[in-house]
């Protein structure tokens, strides 16, 4: 049957993930069972197909992009740590966390959440959302009744609004700035069941 990853999650691993992501013990075990149920190949990692098998993602405009976000640069497999790392972005920010001044920023901080969102646009990782990249995302998000011209003008307008240094693309800082009024914490959080 090939090399089957151990199906039991070891305590040390759980502790490590807990420290890194901030999830609770029960949340981690629950998500682990979800992970294994998605993992048809039973080798402890998920491939893109495993994600694509989730039917609802096919009818989500950003489904494939988000699947992509799980896979680190150039990789084709994601293990449980990587899985949790991405999911950690969506953990709600608890009040006590807001006050604590951690050495390294927790994964679900506002900046990191925004970085995740930013990377959805910025596929080539050049830290800029070019007009092309924006157009791609726009194209995915709107219906077919809108022509390319119109879409192009929307994209131009959008960049205009956000671009402060005139390079016709949106950098991460500009992105943060333009979204400063948005309640990112709330909009990008899911309650993970205990």
């Amino acid at each position: 049957m090939g090399s089957k990853a151990s199906t039991l999650l070891r305590e040390e691993e759980i502790e490590e993930i807990k420290k890194e992501t901030g999830f609770s013990h029960s949340q981690i075990t629950r998500l682990y069972s979800r992970f294994t149920s998605l993992d048809k190949g039973e080798n402890g990692t998920l491939s893109r197909e495993d994600f694509q098998r989730i039917p609802e993602l096919a009818i989500n405009p950003l489904g494939d992009r988000i699947i992509n976000a799980f896979f680190p640069e150039g990789e084709d497999q994601v293990n449980f740590r990587g899985f949790m790392r991405i999911l950690a972005h969506f953990r709600p920010i608890e009040d006590n966390e807001k006050k604590s001044v951690a050495v390294s920023e927790p994964l679900n901080s506002r900046t990191n959440k925004l970085l995740f969102a930013f990377r959805l646009y910025d596929l080539d990782r050049d830290d800029k959302i070019s007009r092309e990249e924006l157009l791609q995302v726009l194209r995915m998000m709107v219906g077919v009744n809108i022509s390319d011209d119109q879409l192009g003008s929307i994209a131009d307008r959008t960049i205009q609004e956000a671009d402060t240094n005139g390079d016709n693309s949106i950098s991460f800082n500009e992105f943060i700035k333009v979204l400063e009024k948005v309640d990112v914490e709330q909009k990008m959080s899911i309650r993970f069941l205990h």
Binding site: S37, E42, R53, P55, Q136, G143, N145, D149, Q150, L193
Partner: protein, 830 residues
């Protein structure tokens, strides 16, 4: 409109005269059906007169002969005309909900009748209401209930229905009693128990009123199902409370002890669960019946209605909750009867239900209006009435917010503030409360008329006032949220991005879809219920359809890829006018089952929410039309914003509820979903294709160097890759897995191992190149392809002359022999 008022006034004015006549001749109390009578008094006189003269009367006027049915028919006619008039004025109905208008119309009618009669001859008789007007409305709602949504939110609904209603009743009763003790109501002869009784009858939110008003206000489906489900399920509580307190009032306060109270609590469970079970039993009966009615399609709809009605009456007979019974009857049978019955029967049932429900609702509201004009019940007690109104409002708000606060700690998708406001404001009381009030025993409850009056006033207040102000309130709240700052384009876009992201992550992390109980139920349902309750032919044809779909997908995808290769470029993929019409293929291939299936597909499509799409075969045809809209070039800021706003896809949470009393149209959200789906599949196919071609797609990073790239394996991996790609295409479309076991995870595609051995010749020469082998391929030892037949799937049609098909015949048979192996891993699920 003029014509209508003329007819109406003519009719009603004369009714008074004739009625007086008739009343004298019929000493017994007026029979149930509300009546309105007919032509002129003069005729009556003539009629009577002519019969007194000797000889054969050429024409006689036999009013008594036809009185009852005539009156019934006339009332229905009047109600229908009223609705016609109202529907003609949409600008009015946008502001004032239809129900309010109908009540006002009832006022007018009641006034006319009273003016003619000096006494209110027509009232909303509780017997008529509970036996003839209410059941069809509830049956309609049960039948059209979005099941997944309903059961998914069942916990919340139950909390609101049971705890919320009890809270409403208790708090209202006690507060009123407290005020009574405090002297706010003057001199009333009502004891604590009677206050509690009154509280229980007025506490319940009314399903009829809720639908009527919520149709105007478009709310998201979760909110709708919460309020609506609550209004349906709280009947169980209302019935129990009402009966219990009624019994207590009859017994007198002295005889109440712990035993009685315990009996009361037990009776709640008995009534509620008994009613629901009874409804389920009837639902199963209907499903079983429709299974055997192929020969008598014409009476299939009759069975549905009759059995539904019987479930209601049986529950009444056993003093269980009849509303719960008929609701669950409709809920449980919908899936099976829609599958079993001929499409014409399904349409008939749907239409007739809507007709009945609409008609009943109209009549109810008109009569609610008419019943007001009755001096008998014009008992005014400022304290009582005003306090009731006030308390109802306040306690509803308190109840909703408190319960929601508790629920939100456990809910996956919390109920937002604005939703809570709408929920508390939308707690409308309606005819059920009035019906219950008229059932009060006058001898025990001296102040019955006051209670009736108060109930009516509460109903009017909630339906008319709250109905009218609901929409502006919602708009104001929503606008208020948005108007804080005018959003920039990117904020708008990003907000939608967030929505979609959240939904996707929820799905990935299994927050909503992955539910142990639901999976278990689905498995059970697949295994037993569908087998027993659905016609064999229907099950088979569903299988057939999916097999065909599966095959078509595979075949088409491959011919797609082949086409591209032949043309030697990726142009083909980019060509968006490529047109693959599945529907047409369907018709050719699965003709036996076709009419039912297409009907099934399109009907179910419109009836189900997008989340449950997975369970049905959508009528997806991979049409890739390019809409060349050469719109005017929008350069203005406002226009751009507007454009974006208009065209952004709605996230899952925002899809409107599909239940509507009067409309059948396919919700355009489906088009959205189809578009997204097609696009996703196209992209996946594209990326697969580019991977295959060795051209790395511009934005996708494909470093597969770590993987094994042996030639032999390459080919196998490639076919695996196709299958998994295509398998993914088919997955959302497969409601249940193919195979005898039938217990599998619907998201899992059946293992197509036997086909792995075959490799299409046109692929055999091809260098696989940097193809990423799939998981499964890695695990399994590569086989040597022994049979270089086509990788094309099973034969599509027995009559096909296609060489494909003929070559496939042996392969197909081979495939049929081997059952697809369900994955053992799925057994490990949860």
């Amino acid at each position: 409109q003029g014509f209508f008022t003329l007819v109406n006034s003519l009719v009603t004015v004369s009714c008074g005269a004739v009625d007086r006549d008739v009343q004298q001749t019929r000493p017994d109390s007026r029979p149930e059906p509300p009546s309105e009578s007919t032509p002129n008094q003069s005729h009556a006189d003539h009629g009577h007169g002519s019969s007194a003269v000797g000889g054969i009367p050429v024409v006689t006027f036999k009013w008594h002969h036809v009185e009852t049915p005539y009156q019934v028919a006339l009332w229905i006619l009047v109600a229908g005309l009223a609705k016609l008039v109202i529907e003609a004025n949409h600008h009015v109905t946008n502001v004032i909900p239809e129900s309010a208008l109908l009540i006002c119309f009832g006022f007018i009618l009641g006034g006319i009748i009273w003016g003619a009669d000096k006494v209110q001859t027509f009232k909303l008789n509780p017997t008529v209401f509970f036996f003839y007007l209410l059941p069809q409305i509830i049956l309609d709602t049960g039948y059209s209930m979005p099941n997944k949504l309903f059961f998914g939110n069942m916990g919340a609904i139950l909390v609101y229905a049971v705890i919320g209603t009890c809270w409403n009743a208790a708090s209202l009763g006690l507060s009123l009693w407290g005020c009574h003790q405090g002297g706010a109501m003057g001199d009333l002869d009502i004891g604590l128990l009677q206050y509690l009784l009154f509280g229980s009858l007025i506490a319940a939110v009314d399903p009829v009123a809720v639908i009527a008003v919520f149709e105007q206000v478009h709310v998201n489906e979760v909110l709708f199902i919460l309020v609506f489900g609550e209004s349906l399920l709280n009947d169980g509580v209302t019935v129990v409370l009402f009966n219990v307190f009624d019994a207590f009032v009859s017994l007198g306060g002295a005889r109440i002890n712990a035993v009685e109270i315990i009996k009361g609590i037990i009776s709640f469970f008995v009534v509620a669960f008994g009613g629901s079970l009874l409804g389920l039993v009837f639902g199963l009966l209907i499903s079983l019946l429709t299974k055997v009615t192929q020969k008598v399609k014409i009476i299939e709809p009759a069975f549905v209605f009759v059995l539904g009605y019987l479930s209601y009456l049986t529950a009444e007979m056993l003093s269980l909750s009849s509303i719960l019974s008929i609701t669950f009857c409709g809920v449980s049978c919908q899936k099976y009867i829609n599958a079993n019955m001929a499409e014409s029967s399904v349409s008939t049932v749907r239409y007739v239900m809507k007709v009945f429900a609409n008609g009943s609702e109209t009549i109810i509201f008109v009569f609610l209006g008419i019943s007001a004009i009755d001096t008998e019940i014009w008992v005014w007690n400022t304290g009582f009435i005003l306090l009731t109104l006030f308390f109802i409002f306040v306690y509803r708000i308190i109840g909703v917010f408190f319960l929601t606060w508790i629920l939100n700690r456990y809910r996956l998708v919390p109920v937002e503030f604005i939703d809570q406001v709408i929920m508390s404001y939308g707690g409308l009381r309606g005819a059920v409360a009035y019906g219950l009030a008229t059932l009060l025993n006058e001898s025990k409850i001296k102040e019955k008329n006051l209670m009736i009056c108060t109930t009516l006033l509460v109903v009017y207040f909630t339906v008319i006032l709250q109905g009218i102000t609901m929409k502006p309130l919602v708009n104001w709240l929503k606008v208020k949220k948005a108007a804080v700052s005018e959003l920039t384009l990117i904020e708008k876009l990003q907000s939608k991005v967030f929505d979609h992201m959240l939904v996707a992550i929820e799905d990935i992390s299994g927050q909503i879809g992955h539910n142990y109980m639901r999976d278990k139920w689905n498995q059970f349902e697949e295994r037993w219920m569908t087998r027993i309750l659905m016609k064999k032919s229907v099950r088979k044809s569903r299988d057939c359809v999916f097999k065909v779909f599966h095959q078509l997908n595979l075949k088409d995808a491959m011919s797609y890829v082949a086409e591209g290769e032949r043309r030697g470029s990726l142009e083909f993929v980019r060509n968006e006018s490529a047109f693959i019409d599945f529907k047409k293929k369907f018709v050719d291939d699965c003709s036996g089952a076709m009419p039912d299936i297409t009907a099934c597909m399109s009907d179910d499509y419109s009836a189900m929410s997008s989340m449950s799409r997975i369970d049905q075969v959508p009528s997806v045809s991979l049409e890739m039309h390019e809409q060349n809209m050469k719109g005017v070039r929008e350069t203005e800021d406002i226009n751009t914003h507007h454009l974006l706003q208009q065209h952004l896809y709605k996230g899952r949470k925002q899809h409107r509820h599909r239940y509507s009393r009067s409309h059948f149209n396919v919700n355009k959200d489906e088009n959205e979903v189809q578009e997204i789906f097609q696009r996703t599949m196209r992209n996946r196919l594209e990326s697969f294709k580019s991977a295959k071609m060795g051209v790395s797609p511009p934005k996708k990073i494909s470093k597969h160097t770590k993987k094994d790239q042996q030639q032999k394996n390459g080919k196998r991996y490639f076919s695996e890759r196709i299958k998994s790609m295509i398998g993914n295409v088919c997955i959302p479309l497969t409601p249940f897995p193919l195979g005898p076991a039938g217990i599998e995870n619907p998201a899992y595609i059946p293992d197509l191992d036997p086909m792995a051995a075959e490799i299409p010749p046109w692929l055999a020469e091809y260098d696989a190149g940097p193809v990423a082998p799939s998981q499964r391929a890695q695990l399994r030892l590569p086989w040597t392809p022994s049979d270089l037949g086509r990788l094309a799937p099973l034969r599509i049609s027995t009559r096909s002359n296609d060489s494909f098909a003929q070559a496939d015949a042996p392969a197909a048979q081979q495939k049929d022999d081997e059952p697809p192996t369900p994955s053992k891993r799925d057994g490990r699920n949860m």
